[in-house]
Chain length 239, copies 2
C-alpha cells in the first residue's frame, strides 16, 4: 500500500490517500485539544498509545460482527482504514452521568444510569457540537432513518462489548463518543469509523475511581501520559 | 366558586386555590420576562389579552377532543382551571426555524421545516431549560413512556388546530411551547395546561412578516402591547 497525499488534518489525526481509492492511512498525532479547541497541548506518545488501543478495540468489535473502517495497524502511528464519508453526527453512549450530561441536567457525576443512553450531537466546531434530537437528524437530513436506527443498534452492541472488555481489566466505561461513516465503495454500508481511545472515552478505575482518560488533560489533573499508558498496560497491547 | 389561598406565583401567572380541591383560579399578570428572567418588564394589559387569547384557543382545542385544564374564563384576568401536577418538561412545537433552534443548529430564522418538529426541554430555571432527548425523560423518570407518546401525539394535533386557526387570520404559527399536567383528580389523565398566548408562541404576519409575539419584548422591537392587541383583534375575541 503506497501512502500518497494528505487529505485532511484534524485535531488528533491526519488522513492520507493511498494507491487504493477505497483505503486511507489514518495517522495518530500527539496533539490534544479540549473544549472545542480552546485548550491545546500535546500528550507525549499519545498517538502511539491511541493507535494501539483503538486498533485492539476495533479488532474486537469487528470480531463480534460490527462493521468497522479499521483494516490493520501499519506501524507506531498509522493504521490502514476503509475510506468513508463521515456521518455528520457524533454518537455518545453513556453508562454513568459525567461531563456535559452532568452539567446540562444538573446531575452529580458518577450516577449510574438505569440503562445505557445514546445521544446524538451535531458535528460542528462552529456550533460547539450541540445536542440534537432524532427529529433534527431527520428533518435536516443529516442521516437517514435507517442509518439512525442502525447507529443506535450498533452503539448498544459496541457498548456491551466494551463494557465487558473494560470490566475485565478493572475499569468502568463511563461514556464515550462514536463516529460512523458510509463506505466509499458502497455508500449504503455504514461502519464504525474514527477511533475509540482515552481521547474519546471516560474510563474510571473500578477500585480508586481514578480517571484514566482525557479528562486528566481537560481538568489539569496531571499524569496524562501515565493514564494512557496504564490503559495500554492493562489491555496488554504492544507491538 | 370561592377564591382562597395563593398557591404559586410564576413569571406571568398566579394560581389560587378554590373551595373545590380539583379546581384552581389562574390569574394573568402583566409581568414579562425573557432569557430566563434576566430581562424583566411589564406589558400593559398583557394579562387581560393573554387571558382572552388562551381561553379561546383552549376552548377550540377541547372542542376537537384534546383534554385541557381550562374550564372557563371568569373575568378580565382570571380563568378557572382543573388542578394539575405539571409534567416537568416543556414541549416545543416548531413549524419554522427560529429562536433557540436557529442559534443551536446554525440555521437561518424563517426556514420552513419539512414537517413539524416536537422538542422537549427540562423545566428548570437553574439549568436554563436545557434541550433533552426522549431517553433522558425515560431514564430520569420525568414522564412515563406512555405520557411522552401522548404528549407527542397531542402536540401534533394541537399544531394542526392552531396552524389552521392562525392561517385563517393571516398569521404564520412559527413555534410555541406547551405544558402538560396530570389531573389532581386522576393522575393517569394528562391534559394540556398553562396557557397558549403570544408569550409562548412565535406569530408572524403572513404578508409583512411582522412579529406579533413576545419577541418584540425580547428583542426590543417596540410596539409590544399593540402586537398582542392585534392578535386579539384578528381573533375577534372580547368580553
Amino acid at each position: 500500500m503506497e501512502k500518497r497525499d494528505q487529505l485532511y488534518e484534524g485535531k488528533a489525526k491526519v488522513l492520507f490517500s493511498t494507491d487504493d481509492e477505497n483505503c486511507l492511512i489514518q495517522y495518530f498525532k500527539d496533539d490534544a485539544t479540549a473544549f472545542n479547541g480552546v485548550k491545546k497541548g500535546t500528550i507525549a506518545d499519545k498517538g502511539v498509545l491511541n493507535n494501539l488501543i483503538s486498533a485492539r478495540l476495533m479488532f474486537l468489535l469487528e470480531t463480534v460482527g460490527i462493521p468497522v473502517h479499521f483494516i490493520k495497524r501499519l506501524n507506531d502511528r498509522e493504521q490502514l482504514v476503509r475510506r468513508v464519508e463521515i456521518v455528520p453526527v457524533e454518537v455518545v453512549v453513556r453508562n454513568r452521568v459525567a461531563g456535559s450530561m452532568a452539567k446540562r441536567l444538573g446531575i452529580k457525576e458518577g450516577v449510574v444510569l438505569p440503562r445505557p443512553v445514546v445521544e446524538f450531537y451535531l458535528k460542528s466546531d462552529e456550533l460547539d457540537d450541540p445536542l440534537i434530537t432524532l427529529d433534527h437528524i431527520d428533518v435536516f437530513n443529516w442521516a437517514s432513518h435507517e442509518e439512525v436506527e442502525l447507529m443506535i443498534e450498533m452503539a448498544h452492541r459496541v457498548n456491551d462489548v466494551l463494557l465487558g472488555y473494560y470490566a475485565n481489566i478493572g475499569i468502568h466505561l463511563v461514556d464515550y463518543k462514536l463516529e460512523f461513516g458510509r463506505l466509499n465503495s458502497d455508500m449504503d454500508t455504514l461502519v464504525l469509523a474514527d477511533e475509540i481511545s482515552p481521547d474519546s472515552c471516560r474510563l474510571w478505575d473500578m477500585k480508586t475511581g481514578k480517571k484514566l482518560d482525557k479528562d486528566r488533560f481537560r481538568r489539569d489533573l496531571g499524569g496524562v501520559e501515565e493514564a494512557y499508558q496504564e490503559i495500554v498496560d492493562r489491555m496488554g497491547v504492544s507491538e
